[in-house]
């Protein structure tokens, strides 16, 4: 249970870091890099959501 919450946190932290990178890419106008942001943020957020759901469902069972 705790593991899934922890994993969710990790992925969210990853998303936060990505957003920080986006800020940098925008500042330096590296538009070509930005196209890889879509799949990356989608994967991270969906994984974070899935682990959060697992956490919530399991917590209810406890």
């Amino acid at each position: 249970m705790k593991k899934s919450f922890f994993l969710s946190q990790i992925f969210l932290a990853g998303a936060g870091f990505l957003i920080f990178l986006v800020l940098l890419a925008l500042l330096f106008k590296k538009v070509k890099l930005l196209q890889y942001f879509d799949p990356a943020i989608v994967v991270l957020l969906v994984l974070a959501l899935i682990f959060r759901m697992i956490f919530e469902i399991k917590r209810k069972d406890d």
Partner: protein, 949 residues
Amino acid sequence: MKEKKPRPTKPGRGIFWLFLLLLFGLTIVVGWPLFADFSHHLYGAQNDALGSLWGLWWAKEALLNLRQLPTLSPYLAAHFGVLVPFVSPLDYLISLPTTAVFGPIFSYNILVLLSFFLSGLGMFLIIDLLTKNRWVALILGLLFALTPYHLSQSQSFLDLSQTQWLVFMVYFLLRFQKNKTAGNLLGVNIFLVLTILTSHYYAVFAAIILLLYLILQLTIFKEELKNFPRARKVLIINTLVYGAILLLGFIFFLFKLKGKLPVPPLFELQNYGSTRSWYYFLPAMNHPLLGDWARSITPGFSYSIQSINLGFLLVFLALPALVIKKIGQNHRFILLFFFLLLVIALLLSLKPVLNIGGYYLYLPSYFFFRVVPIIKILTRFSFLVSLSIFILAGLTFAHFGKFFSKTKFAVLSLIILGIGLFEFFPSFSFTDLAKIPPAYQWLKDQPPETKIIEYPFYPIHPWVWEQMFYQTIHRKITFNNYFFQTAYKDAPDLLSEMENLNTPQAAWLWQLLGVDYVIVQTKSFHQDETQTKYIQEKIDLEKIKAHPQLELVKEFPESLVFKVKNKPKEEIFALQNPVYLPQGASVLKEFLDWQEKTSQPKAEHFIFAKDQTKKTVPKNSDIFLAIDREKMEFSSSNSKFSFSNQIPVADNYEFWAAVEGSAKNEVYLGNKRVEIGKIAQGLQKITTEYLDPKEGKVEIVSTENKGNILADPSFETGLWDEGGVDRSPEAPGPSQIKASQSNDATDGRYSAELATKNHLVGIHRRLPKIDPQALYLVSFDYKHIKGAAPHFALWQDGINTGFPDEFLSTEPGWQHYEKLIKPDPKATFAIFYFFSDSDGTRETINLYDNVKMEEFHLDILPVALFRKGADNPKPLLSSTKISPSEYQVRVKASAPFFLVLPEKFEENWQVSLSEGEKVSSQNHYILDGWENSWLIEKIGEYELKIIKK
């Protein structure tokens, strides 16, 4: 014992009043330019908003003056009327009184400004409910009113500016989540209804929110429901069912509409209608300080659609709410709910298909669009993303508040408000509509039954809104603006026939339709390259001023007003393809049905029969249309159709008609096929083929064919451009294009194969100097293998414009393409292009082969129109052009015929027979509304002269 709930403490109330004051002030700031003249200064930009003004006006006009439902308006697309899609009936209804008293602009401004106030208030209530921290609620409430999404939508779209009802629905849903009372649920339902009546986008958003809520409540959080008494549960279920019925009804309505509204193709959705996740972090393009920078990153960025900045600050406040365990414990449901909503809305807003190194990733937005195509701007899901971010940020913000002293927290709040305001810095535009163009001012004073048509024509274009707005001033029925769905499906085709006002069919249709005034805009009033080009192409002022059916009555600095002349003398009409059947004549059951259903005036109905004849009979057969006031029957010269009703009916335009099948090449190149039927009053009724209705009739005097002027037309020695040229290098991703020779060929051993997975691949060949006096027959074979349709273009150098790109058939197997092209007189040479397109969602392969461009030389000379048949051989004409005002014609005729001079009708043109005998001016007819035509009754061999006096 019933205990009263504790009221908010005084300081809390103080903050609430302070918030209302600040929000009011903010609303005034947002709308400050309007207050100088609230009834003439419009909040927002001059585009779709003008359409909403027309809608507000029309709703008032229909309900209060005409006492009819506003769903069908006879003011536009005259004779047919338009079905007005009232997507936002609530706005139109609640603003009726203000529209009636102060006009539509006043109502519009009030509605938009109110949305700022109410949206901010809604967010304040939500955050206050969840955190009990009114400072946090105050700051987020103020910022929420100013989100770039809200600002950008309210610049153009009345319905989408009304975000408040959805926010209030969420507020009551969250109240219900905390305290499951019937009152809270009633609140949800009331605001659900208001949302549905405001915008179909927000209605779909509401459906998603409620569905998500139900799923969570009935699965992970079902324990919560067990604590409530049975009666309450029944009520809850009843109310939910009621909500579901409403939603289902609405979704049904969406599906009904699905076929009627234009649905954009997927590539449009990919490029314009959806977002990239990093757009969420880009400042709005009209940000006073960061706008230029934002524009430099995304050139071509559309402000009204893609300004969706969430604010870095808010995002970084929202993420901790999901990470910090303590917040999770206190707000378990809220966190999961808004996290889910955030991810779902983000996924639905993104570009539907991601191309990752040649592999396609289909996102939920792709499937969602397939099911609910009416949500065609997926970017608008950003509103739900923003809503979730605000609520999550509110939770973190309030959580941090516990660790600070009051003073420090106040300072922190101010800093956050400052940064937030900087990120969302509002910048607004407004439009001064007080000055009415003089032509519309003049029109306003004309009799109410006056009917107008405006040029240039905007068949489907945002700028129809401007013409529609000025209709609220001049209040005259117009033939323009078939932009909405008309009651008759072929009406837009008919309008396209009138698009070029110099063509004979346009003049004929004006008379037929009863147009009083033709208004021609002379300024290139929209600073848009494509539009300016469009106007220049379609309008030649000198030609219009000399138009035989138009009389210039008013000349304004930016527009000319022409009166449509009554017919000066009897006219005859050579039927072309298409055929118009006026005066209640009707060929289609469908049309008759429509006549019965609608309350439109019957007297001036006409029909566009082209498509129907195409559907009913095989190509190239002769179709005769017998017209009767009551009924209409098809007949044909082949045995499939019998000729049953031969009664010609009275008035002006009844006739026997003969329609040829679609024009083929041999018709263009000399074998002109001509049909004659008989009509009442003993006149001959004629049909003929045109080279091109816009060019007029031509007689070919020399068919000198220089043969194919293209070198290596079959790609035998290689491709025109080895490997192909990337024609869209700006498209995302590394280019994956390929052009090669293929063994699948129709001519020689090879054809050109153009393949692409993302960018536009093209091959081209520059042609030798082209002769503007000549005609060119362009032909080639093509084969569609997969992906997007084959596609070619011809660019004309010298005038730097092309014949419009043509997208070809995607039918399997080799196809043949043929077209006769007349180059622009100023063109010097041309470039021939073949393409394959891909929007990055699928691979496209097309083959091309056997390319020909043949040159022909033609001249315009008098021609004969005659009745075809064994007893009526073609009159032989041998014409010589002596000077621009004199033609000599040697005639050999065994029956009367019509002599046609394809020049503008003028009384001064006269025909003299051999012995000086003149053809009576009574036999001089206007053919097809523009050209000269004489009935020549003399039989035998003789010579005649056509002279302009």
